[in-house]
Symmetry: C2
Amino acid sequence: MTNGATALLETLRNAGVDTCFINPGTSEMHFVSALDDSDMRCVLALFEGVATGAADGYARMAQKPAATLLHLGCGLGNGVANLHNARKARVPMVNIVGDHATYHTKFDAQLQSDIETVARNVSTWVRTTKSVHNLAKDTAEAVAVAIGPQEQIATLILPADVSWGEGAVPVSPQPRTAPPQADSNVVEEIARVLRSGEKTAILLGRRVLLEQGLVAAARIAEKTGASVLCEVFPTRLERGAGLPAVERLAYFAELASVQLAGYKHLVLIDAKAPVSFFAYPGKKSYLVPDGCSVHTLVTPEQDAIGSIEQLVRAVGADRVKPKLQASSRPELPTGKLTGPKVCQAVGALLPANAIISDEAQTSGVKLGAFTAGAPRHDVLTLTGGAIGQGLPVALGAAVAEPNRPVLALVGDGSAMYTVQALWTIVREQLNVTTVILNNRAYSILNIELERVGAEEPGPKARAQFDLNTPPLDFVKLADGMGMSARRASTAEEFNAALEQAFSTPGPHLIDAIVPSEFDGLKLRALPMGLEVLQRMPSPLAKSIKKKLGL
Amino acid sequence: MTNGATALLETLRNAGVDTCFINPGTSEMHFVSALDDSDMRCVLALFEGVATGAADGYARMAQKPAATLLHLGCGLGNGVANLHNARKARVPMVNIVGDHATYHTKFDAQLQSDIETVARNVSTWVRTTKSVHNLAKDTAEAVAVAIGPQEQIATLILPADVSWGEGAVPVSPQPRTAPPQADSNVVEEIARVLRSGEKTAILLGRRVLLEQGLVAAARIAEKTGASVLCEVFPTRLERGAGLPAVERLAYFAELASVQLAGYKHLVLIDAKAPVSFFAYPGKKSYLVPDGCSVHTLVTPEQDAIGSIEQLVRAVGADRVKPKLQASSRPELPTGKLTGPKVCQAVGALLPANAIISDEAQTSGVKLGAFTAGAPRHDVLTLTGGAIGQGLPVALGAAVAEPNRPVLALVGDGSAMYTVQALWTIVREQLNVTTVILNNRAYSILNIELERVGAEEPGPKARAQFDLNTPPLDFVKLADGMGMSARRASTAEEFNAALEQAFSTPGPHLIDAIVPSEFDGLKLRALPMGLEVLQRMPSPLAKSIKKKLGL
C-alpha cells in the first residue's frame, strides 16, 4: 500500500525504465516528492522539447525507453515537436503527463486543456488513469506498448489526485513474447527477385541499420549483385571502418531520384518506400521509379533482424564474406573554415566509438563522405524533420552511453529551438562536444525557395532566412549556461578546438563560423557529388549547372 | 487572378491585419515569396512559441489580431503553450499553418502529422483550405472569427499547393455588427443586488479592466458600497495614478479565500467565478464562499463595456465621481537586492505610459503594491499559466506600441522557455527593458511542494527546482543574442541599471540576482500583506506563522 506516484515509479523501475527526463510543475509534485525513495535517475530540462528529445536520443542508444515527466497539456505541447521526431523513428518512450485532479478539471482553471488530443497526435497509446487502483497496471501497459516489437510512444496522463491517492500496488512487467518472423513465402519471393539478375536495390531502415543487419544486407549484396541503400534519415546508423558501408538516400528528391533510377526492384527492409520530403510544383512526390516493383520483407511488428537473416539463407549468402569499409581518414583541413571543412576535420579526428547527432543541415552535406572510413561510430539523424532535435538527442545519447564520446553537429538555426539543452549537458557533466555550424542563416530555406519555383526572391523574403541581424554568438550563449566554448573561423582553429574537446572529457562547444553553402552555389558538395548533379534531369540541376558554369 | 499566398496576404491586409510573427519552413515558401509585394510587417522568431506569444502581446495592446505563420504540425506544436495562454485570455489571433500539398499528405513524409487536432486544442475556428478558390473567403472568415465579439483564435491550415495555386481573388471583410448588450432584466436584477445593502463584490475581468470599465466599476462601488476585485491573471489591466485602483485576487487560493470571505453576492463582469489554480489535497477548488450568490452580467459574446455602463445608470451612479488612485512612489531601495526591492525600484522609476509584462512569479509578489501609485501603465499577465509567455508578450506589445516603454519582469525559470525572444527584440530594435528575476530556482515549486502536502522533501526532490547547478548568466545569454545587458546584485546597482535602461531607447536586459523568496520564508511579502496571512485559516498559514514565529 503506497501512494500512486510511488507505485508508478516502482512499476517503471520493475520494467527496466531507470531514467526520466523531467520538467515538472505543481501537478507533478507527488511524483517529484517520491523520487527520494526511488533509484530512478532524474534529468532536469529547462524546456520540455529538451526532455522529449533527450528521451529519444537515450532510447536510440540504450535500446530501451526512458520516461519523461511533463506538466499538463502545455508541457506536453512544448514537447510535441521532438515527440513527433521520435514517433516517426518509432523510438520507444513512456510519457507521464501530469493533469489536474479529476474533480478539478470541471472548473476550467487556467492550465486546463484537452491533453488527450495532443497526446494522441504523437502517441500510439494514450490513457488517462482515473483511479489509483489502476495506475500500476496502466503504467506496466504503457511500458509494454513502448517496448513491444513496434516500438512506440505511450502517454500516461496522471491526474494529481491519482498521484497522491493511497492504495496503489506496484506491479511487475509481463514476460515479453518474441516478435514473429516474416512469412516464408515473402522471404522466398524476395529471394527469387534477388536471384533474378534484374537490377535490384535493397533499402534498409530502422532496426537493420546496426551491425547485424548491415552485415546481412552486405552478404546478400555480395551474393546477388543488389545495391544497398539506407533511408534518408536513419534513427541510428552504425558505420565506419570495419562495417559494411551503405549509400544513404539524398534529402533532395532530385538527387534521390537519380540514385533510384534504373532499378527494376526495390526491396524494403524495415523502411518505407522513398518519398519527397516536401512537395514541389510539377515534381513527383513518390520517388520509386515507374516500372520498379516494391517488395516489403517485414511489417513493423515482425522481427526485422531475424527476417533479414532468413533472407540471407534463402539466397545462399550465409557463408559469404561481406565487403567492409576500409579504415581511412581525410587530411586535416586548412584555411578559411567552411561546412565541408568541419566535416573533414570530424573525419580526421573522430575518436573511436563516437556517437554523432547530426542536425548540421546544409553545412553537413559532406559529413557522410568524410567520415566513411573513420573509426566505427553511430549516427543519429533528424527522423521527423522537426528541427531542434540535434542537441537534445545528443544529451540523451550521452546519458545512455556515459563512456562514449558524443558529437552534436547542429546548424545555428536548429540549435536555437532547443538551446536550453546546453544547460542540462553541463548540469549532468556529459561527455558531449557540440559544434554549431554557424552560417547565420536558415540556409536550407534559401535553397527551398528556389526549389518551390520562386524565381527572383525579393529582399523581404530573403530577410526571413537571415540570422545575421543580429549575429548569434554561441560562445556567449554556451558560457551563459556554464559551458566552456571556443570560436573557430579558420580550419586550423577548428582542428585545435575539436582536438582539445575530444581529449578533455566533459561538455564543450565550438562556434564554427562558416559561410552559407548556398552562397556562390556550392551544391556540388552534396553527398552524391558532381557526377550525380550532372545527370540530374530537373530544372534545379539546370539552374545549378548554369550558375556553376557547366 | 493571383496565387493563393498573394491573395491571402491581401485579404489579411484588407481586414486590417498588418503584422505577422513568423517562423517559416519549406511549405510556407510561397507566402514568404509573396511578402515583397505586400506591406505586411513580418517579424521573424527563432522559435514558434516566441511567434505565438508575441502575437498575443501584440493583440492585447493593438486591440486587433496579428497573424502568425507556422510550419506544419510541429511548428504549431511549438507554439501551443503560448496559444493556450492567448486562448484562456480570449486574445484574437489568426494562425496560418502551412501544410504539405494536398496530394502529398498520403505519402506520410517525415513532417506529416495531424495538424487539425493540435490546432483545435487552442483554436475556436479551424479550417484546412483545400482549394485556392476558397482561400480568400476562408481567410476573411478566420479574421472575422478572431475580431468577433468573443475574440478568439482562428487557425487556417494552408496546403502548399493551395498557396502556390493560381486563380485566387482577394476579398474584403464583411462589415462588423455591434455585439448585443446584456439583457435588461439581468442588469436590473444585479442593480437590485447592489442596492440591497448586502455585502457584495464585483469581480472584473478581461475587457472591463481598461479605463472605461474601471471607472464604471468605481462609480458603482462609490454609489453602492460594493468592493471591486480584479481576476487573478488579467489579460490587460490599466492601473496607476489617476485611475481607479482594483484589488487583484491572489494566486494562492488560501489567500484568495480570505479576500472573498464574507461576501453574500459576487457579481461577475467579463470574469469567471474564481477557482484554485491547482487542486490540493483536502482543499476546495471552487473559491466562491458557501452561501454567496453569483451573478453574471454578460456572456462572452455580449458588449461588456456597454453593459457595465447600463449597470452604472441602473444604480444611479452615472454622475458619481469615482475614487481615483493618488500619485505616489516608493523610495528607491538600498542594500542587497531582493525580488521585492526590484518591484520597489520599478515603482520608483517606472516611466509614464509604460507596459509591464509580468511573469516575475514569486519574486514579483510586491509589484502591485509598489507600482499602485506609479504613472499610469498597463500590466499584461500570464493568463493561461503556461510559463514562457513574459518575454514574447513584451516583444509583441512593443511591436504594437513602438512609442511606449515596455518592461518585461520575468523569472529565470520562465525566461528560459522562450529565451529566443531576446534575439527578435534586438533584431527589431524594440524599446523593451527585460529584468530577469534570477533567484536560480523554480522557487514557486518549493512552495507548491509544501502546499500539496509533501512534509519533508528530500534532496533529490529539491534538486528538481534548483537552477543554480550551473547558474544561468543572463548577461552572457543576452549578449549572445546581441542585447546590451548588466548584472545587479545590490539595489543601488539595480536602480542605476534600470534608470539607464529607461532613459536609453532600445533593448536592455538586467540580470537581477535575488534570493528565492521562499528562503527564510518571506511569504509575508505576499500582496495582501501580513494582515491577510494572519487571518488565513489554512494549514499553510499555520506553518508559515510558525516559521515566522508569530
